[in-house]
Amino acid sequence: MTNTWQDIKNANVVVVMGGNAAEAHPCGFKWVIEAKIENHAKLVVVDPRFTRTASVADLYAPIRPGTDIAFLSGLIRYLLEKDAIQHEYVRAYTNASLIVQEGFGFEDGLFTGYKADARAYDKSTWDYELDEAGFARIDDTWQHPRCVINLLRKHVDRYTPETVSRICGTPRDKYLQVCDLFATTAAPDKALTSLFALGWTQHSIGAQNIRTMAMVQLLLGNIGVAGGGMNALRGHSNIQGLTDVGLLSAQMPGYLTLPKDSEPGFEDYMRTRQFKPLRPGQTSYWQNYRKFMVSFQKAIYGDAARADNDWAYDWLPKLDNDGYDIIRAFEMMTNGQMNGYICQGFNPLQAFPDKGKNRKALGKLKFLVVMDPLDTETSRFWENFGPQNPSDPASIQTEVFQLPTTCFAEENGSLVNSARWLQWHWKAADAPDQAQSDIWIMSGIFHRMREMYRKDGGAFPDPILNLAWNYTDPTNPDPEELAKDMNGRALADIKDATGAVTLRAGQLLDGFAQLRDDGTTSSGCWIFSGCYTEKGNQMARRDATDPREQGIAPNWAWSWPANRRILYNRASADPAGHAWNPQKPIIEWNGTRWAGIDVPDYTPTTKPSDAVGPFIMNAEGVGRLFARDQLAEGPFPEHYEPFESPVPNLLHPKVQSNPAARVFADDRAAFGTAPDFPYVATTYRLTEHFHFWTKHALINAILQPEEFIEIGEVLAKEKGIDQGGWVRLTSKRGVVVCKAYVTKRIRPLMVDGRPTHVIGVPLHWGFTGQARKGYGANTLTPAVGDANTQTPEFKAFLVNVERTSPPVA
């Protein structure tokens, strides 16, 4: 989230599209209700189903799963045509005026530079025209045909209301009502907030779904302001934290990235990361990358990371592809390229697409280690549970370890919520019986490995033998010590420009501004610097006071970066430094500095007249309507059909689906087509369950005891399916037999003149826990991911459905 949960109350329009906050984030959704009651906000819901969020909406529009880019591109077209954009914001704070290179183009569904054999682009034309000094050329008058705003206008021109309605199945009048409501927030003092979740990410075009909305928000001037922003409602309690700390294949803590084979030396690595400003005088904060990187290496390798060994650069593993994500991992297992797998609090047998493939893949491992508080399906993949998990243990040679761990109530530590708050929590009881913390288990494995390497040697032991491990109890490091590691320390006396010592050697840093690139500071995660200072554990703060009751609560816990609650808050003020919305200012220029209720996302003393852009992480200093080379499938979003779709791509039939998405041959062979599987299916969560965890909790297992699907009344009648009757739901990959819930909440959509039925597949059941046995939605879903993130396409795929008889008990 760019903003906070409470800040939602400041919105004039709340848009829930790509999520269902009322059911998936109920206690956060109360701030939407607060916005409606106290701020007279309008709630817009765009969803294939009439959800509980939709039930309290002022305006609900149905949409076919997987067509959000068409919907939103049409919206951009509408805003540009009606001139319903916030002109001063767009001109000063976005790249609308920058001029794109002459060679850039788009034709028949493809941008320039496509290489069909590699399913990838040569992106060299996806950039600005530069002047002699290396700065992007600009035309503030928007007359130049290749300035971004004109290229965007041309790109979205095809998305007329008629075309949008034909692709999305959204009735034209509903669609135009939504466009009108969006347009009202182009006024400088009006804000629209976008709340989304997996409904946007779990598509082969997921990143571009979100990007299209971010562009809408830039055009409306809604980023950085109270009640605005792009608010990703993260799923799990600390998935934001695990992302921040870089537990992703290609990532390092604080959004640093692992080196690639093409970057053999440290200077090769730095060359592509210290972004120089693309416009004169811009901040381009990643220019400080070397400080973050050197301080990180000092944090994990201590004295062994030195200038003369390039800060132990070679000890980081290098990537030979875009990343070893989970879909690739299961492909590698299938092909016998993996021997061991460790699952820490993660249940991939249920959670990742194509369960049948996952089960077979796990059976090819030599060993599987599962660390979990609960008895997961993954840890018992080898056991025969009948049709829900058919298996022959005698034929499976995998050694399996099931290790009991503590749960939230039995440990200290911080969790990062969706609004980037690091909140500390405390242990209330010991773990049951012999269960241990993940910290203890990981330390135990590490110490045993290190001891063997020390005694017996082996492959490249250096990073293992030199890993910094200065903890009071090395077998079970205290979370507070680990938090201090991430915050960072001075390793020598740190002096300011006048030569005065600001921090003595050994002291904890106040924040990342103190980081150095000469090895005199350490920080395990630079964006967390400031979370645990000499003043104590900032994450444990519990002062809920809230200036002007504006939803900031600056002294409750601690927020990254730098305790900033609203990202890009410089954009809440106009170029002269006055709040766009005088009723709800965040920071303003007071004549000598930026001041207000939040920490400025800006250098506090930079004068408005210096014309430094508010998006300080971008080399241009402005928000990007044109994404340059940042995404795999194009600098502008384009509508591509899901890999399993009931219709041809109306805009360019030859480029049906995302041309840059990676698809493995066996996964492609397992895609179904509309003649065999005529219905569109989409997966989702129920408010009574969380993933595959709550089926282990008695109350939740009673509330929603068994697997079911939702189908509309028209389809039910057509197929002779009764309310509560048994059905057989099939995709090319598998079969689920369960009960049907016949509902008015899903209605057929008219897609290009033909009725299209959507079937809802809640995903919470498996074969362990207290609820009844179920197959799990991932029995059906295809193994293809977003081209940038490899997030699997769970939200749009094809199925068939038939009534069937109850299974024999």
Binding site: L242, L247, M452
Partner: protein, 197 residues
Amino acid sequence: MDLTRRGFIKLSGAGLAASSLGALGFGFAGDALAASVRPFKLSATSETRNTCTYCSVACGILIYSLGDRAKNARSDIIHIEGDPDHPVNRGTLCPKGSALLDIVHAPTRLKVPKYRAPGSSEFKPVSWDFALDRIATLMKQDRDANFIARNAAGTTVNRWTSTGMLAASAASTETAYLTWKVARAFGMLVFDNQARV
């Protein structure tokens, strides 16, 4: 004012006596009710501040456990509720958070390390030392056999791709940091979390 539950009900009874209900003759009901009520159960518990383990709203919760945290007194969690001081949830919890006690005490909580041998049809309880020694041995064997120090072009790459790891989405940030250190020091690249599902 130090008000017990029993005292509160007596007071309420007194209030009733002065109201129209009192006039109707219900004034003694409060005394009778108070005499039948046990002391408030939570008054003998320890209160711990924590965060709901499910979604990213991160509702503040209060955990109540028996035991005063003295040495050898084992705590037992008996009640969990929303934290009214928390600026986001303000004391509320959803159908998942309201049932947190049931996940803490789920009968399917794992309690001892278990091991399943190749081809076996059952898990057997084992000691932590057996499990961790065996895991470390298997990992070292695989790492030594399949570690890639240089690629075909001779570039130092120092990667290990034949063993992978998935990290926990409800574990603390500190757990995540320690896990990162260990996995990457081994050279692991097949390393991911639950951000996508």
